[in-house]
Symmetry: C2
Subunit: 122 residues, 2 copies
DNA sequence: CATCAATATTGACAGCCGTCTATGTCGGTG
DNA sequence: CACCGACATAGACGGCTGTCAATATTGATG
């Protein structure tokens, strides 16, 4: 059995605990290119509102959430939309329109990548 | 045996894989307070130069590095110093003066906290 | 004490970022 | 087609951030 768990969202997607993006932080220093790519993800999570939005999406039933479910974070609706766009541009979430509503969910490869950076692969 | 590894730096420090700071991102939404505290860490890692500096410290022999060992990241010396201060203010690293040199190392509780946020505790 | 090497601090400046209001777009409904 | 609700985009604005050159501080060394 696997003692190693990542996000539930990921478990349904792939059984590998492999590092999909780059070397772990603690093994060898990040190259310039890797650091730029990964910093984009950390930067996106580096705002309290965005972190809460991401958390709300990740913890929502089914691993996805409608904007209307998560938009009560203390800022205006356009600001929420702006932050969700940033999360999407950073590759952390994906969005899909279904009728009137837009659903966001955590992008599967991403959290695995972050986990890999923190050295969880072995 | 433990299938679960965190940073080597941490392994020597504590055997627990417990969550030291807050609920994992994927289980329940982060509170306002938690999100602000954790966002500080992500934000500090959200700059390519700081991420490289952190990686250089984490991957350096003994888990610590002198500034002179890691300051070749393409920016001026004051800028390196500025970034190291930011990492320290974010609680990601600690610094210690030994003679002429200043040594930085990864703050043990921190990476465990980040790992906890990404849900690696169970 | 004078000097040097390693690191930190200060001050300045351009550019990015988070926020808002106003407005646009798109789908559903009558 | 007209209207409404959900969400996105545009534009503006104040504040923060990354960078540098210049200077200060701190410890070792002669």
């Amino acid at each position: 059995m696997s003692n190693l768990k990542v996000l539930p969202i990921l478990e349904a997607d792939a059984g590998d605990g492999a590092v999909p993006c780059c070397a772990p932080l603690s093994r060898e220093p990040l190259g310039v290119e890797d650091s730029e790519r990964i910093a984009v993800m950390f930067k996106a999570l580096g705002d309290p509102v965005r972190l809460r939005l991401f958390s709300l999406i990740a913890s929502h039933e089914g691993g996805e959430a409608c904007v209307c479910d998560i938009q009560d974070v203390g800022v205006s609706q356009p600001t929420v939309s702006h932050h969700l766009k940033k999360l999407r541009d950073a590759g952390l979430v994906t969005s899909e329109r279904r009728g009137t509503w837009v659903y966001y969910k955590v992008a599967p490869p991403v959290v695995a990548a972050l986990a890999g950076v923190l050295d969880l692969s072995s």
